[in-house]
């Protein structure tokens, strides 16, 4: 099968993170997946990605700033003309380091916040972090970097959308991503507590729409619909192995950050060049295009819009990644989604022992990344609400990993 060209590299530099959000999209066994890539491996991956056609790089994790070599990575991406976005919890980060990252080649910052005020936000994060995030937001603006605020929505914060919008305005964000939780990874573990009521979704959606209208031209307000409630699957990753390449901390390349759960053979960037992985890795080709589609996808008019939905969700819920995404109302397995309920009292924090610091093995620079005993906050990947293309130009490569 002919591979399309990728637009975006998602670089998960480490799974370590100071936050412990119960909807983290990192693997349940994140602590066993050590940072195996040295700085020189990452810079080579950037070079190989750009040669394949990649123009956007998302630096994420975990908390990518847990490594101390992002300056070197950004400095490598700048002359490649890559648009480099940092997705961060803001911890750890100082104003000086942010300035150094900007000078090295960072183009934009997406900062997560868990709710509109300190007590609730810190409770969801499992870490005292809100006050520091407020400082980070101010530094981002002072240093002239564009700021997106990312908020993962779920039962405990969906009723606070107006307050979250007000916070984004107060912090000077240019974009606000309100992304409903996708139930994979830790979020699936915690689905019984995180899943909201339909009325919460409807109200939040209307509030976000009102904010979008009011703030037009000043702040972009995105509201990522939850596939559990729409009856329609998300266009996951804009289609399997179609626009995105994800590289994890241990060097495994994937079409989607959650695809490690699938029983497929995943190649490592330490052993294969990125173009060979993109073109020939059987895992990338397994669900690329339409050849794999069962009914009702195969004859469905929407197959070119949603690509059959999320392969990882199909696998997580049915045990078969080749089935129609159960989020689709037409799917034979839709009851698995439709019957799910939330409201359990307890959300488990992400847990796991911290992995050791990455090796520096003869690469330059020689300093290993910091070994802070911390962990991540990243929830699930969602498809950003894509706007209709205008006649003059078309939108490409749009998609975002939802961060909390």
């Amino acid at each position: 099968m002919t591979a399309p060209r990728p637009y975006t590299l998602v670089a998960e530099l480490t799974y370590r993170c100071a936050l412990r959000c119960g909807y983290c999209s990192n693997p349940l066994d994140w602590a066993q997946r050590h940072d195996a890539l040295a700085t020189a491996d990452w810079t080579r991956v950037l070079t190989e990605a750009e040669a394949l056609g990649v123009m956007q790089v998302t630096l994420t994790g975990g908390e990518p700033l847990q490594r101390d070599d992002q300056e070197a990575i950004d400095a490598h991406g700048r002359p490649l003309d890559l648009y480099q976005t940092l997705i961060t919890t803001g911890m750890p980060l100082t104003r000086d380091r942010l300035a150094a990252l900007r000078d090295a080649g960072l183009d934009a910052v997406q900062l997560s916040v868990q709710d509109a005020e300190k007590t609730r936000s810190d409770r969801i994060a499992g870490t005292q972090s809100f006050a520091h995030k407020r400082d980070v937001a101010a530094w981002v603006r002072e240093l002239g970097l564009p700021l997106t605020l990312n908020v993962v929505l779920h039962r405990a914060n969906l009723d606070h959308v107006p307050e979250i919008v007000a916070l984004a305005e107060a912090w000077g964000a240019e974009r606000l991503e309100l992304a409903n939780t996708q139930y994979l990874g830790w979020a699936l573990v915690n689905r019984g507590s995180l899943l909201p009521e339909r009325e919460q979704i409807e109200r939040a959606r209307a509030e976000a729409a009102a904010a979008r209208t009011r703030l037009k031209g000043r702040m972009e307000v995105l509201f990522v619909l939850p596939d559990y409630f729409t009856g329609r699957p998300k266009a996951c990753m804009d289609g399997w192995a179609r626009r995105f390449i994800v590289v994890g901390p241990n060097g495994t390349a994937l079409p989607c950050h959650a695809a490690h759960i699938l029983p497929l053979d995943w190649w490592n960037v330490r052993e294969h060049p990125l173009d060979a992985i993109w073109r020939d890795n059987p895992g990338f080709n397994a669900y690329r295009g339409e050849h794999w589609m069962p009914e009702p996808c195969r004859s469905c008019d929407r197959r070119t819009l949603d690509f059959g939905g999320c392969r990882c969700q199909a696998f997580a819920l049915t045990g078969d990644a080749g089935r129609t995404d159960p989020a689709c109302a037409l799917a034979p397995d839709h009851a698995l989604v439709a019957s799910a309920t939330g409201g359990d009292a307890r959300t488990e924090y992400r847990r796991g022992a911290p992995p050791p610091a990455p090796p520096a093995k003869g690469h330059w620079p020689l300093e290993p990344a910091s070994a802070d005993p911390d962990q991540v906050e990243s929830p699930d990947r969602v498809k950003m609400r894509a706007k209709k293309p205008r006649s003059r130009f078309r939108q490409v490569g749009n998609g975002s990993r939802q961060r909390g």
């Binding site: 060209r5 637009y7 750009e50 040669a51 056609g53 123009m55 956007q56 998302t58 003309d81 648009y83 976005t85 183009d107 934009a108 997406q110 002239g144 564009p146 997106t148 240019e174 974009r175 037009k216 031209g217 000043r218 702040m219 972009e220 950003m384 706007k387 205008r390 003059r392 130009f393 078309r394 939108q395 490409v396 490569g397 749009n398 998609g399 975002s400």
Partner: protein, 92 residues
């Protein structure tokens, strides 16, 4: 609102680059990439933060041997659409 007398600049978050696969100009912003056609690319590359839309249209008309009115109309439509998404900003 973009008028012929407006002075427009790309927002600081926006970068233009060539797509090495297609050779076309891409407008890049956070989690967004817009593929520009040749005329949109010429208009955006001409934004220098000092000339008005009308002056830019006149310059492009001279360079490409095309009617200035048509280019001005196209430029206003393009820049209005981008301003709505905060991808360009209008000088006060």
């Amino acid at each position: 609102m973009i008028a012929p007398e407006s002075v427009v600049a790309l927002a600081s978050k926006v970068r233009l680059r060539e797509d090495r696969i297609t050779g076309r100009t891409m407008l890049l912003a956070p989690e967004r990439g817009l593929e520009l056609n040749a005329s949109a690319a010429a208009i955006l590359r001409a934004l220098d933060g000092s000339r008005t839309v009308r002056e830019i249209a006149a310059a492009l008309a001279a360079a490409h041997d095309a009617p200035a009115e048509r280019i001005e109309t196209e430029a206003i439509a393009l820049l209005s659409a981008l301003a709505e998404r905060a991808l360009v900003k209008v000088a006060p």
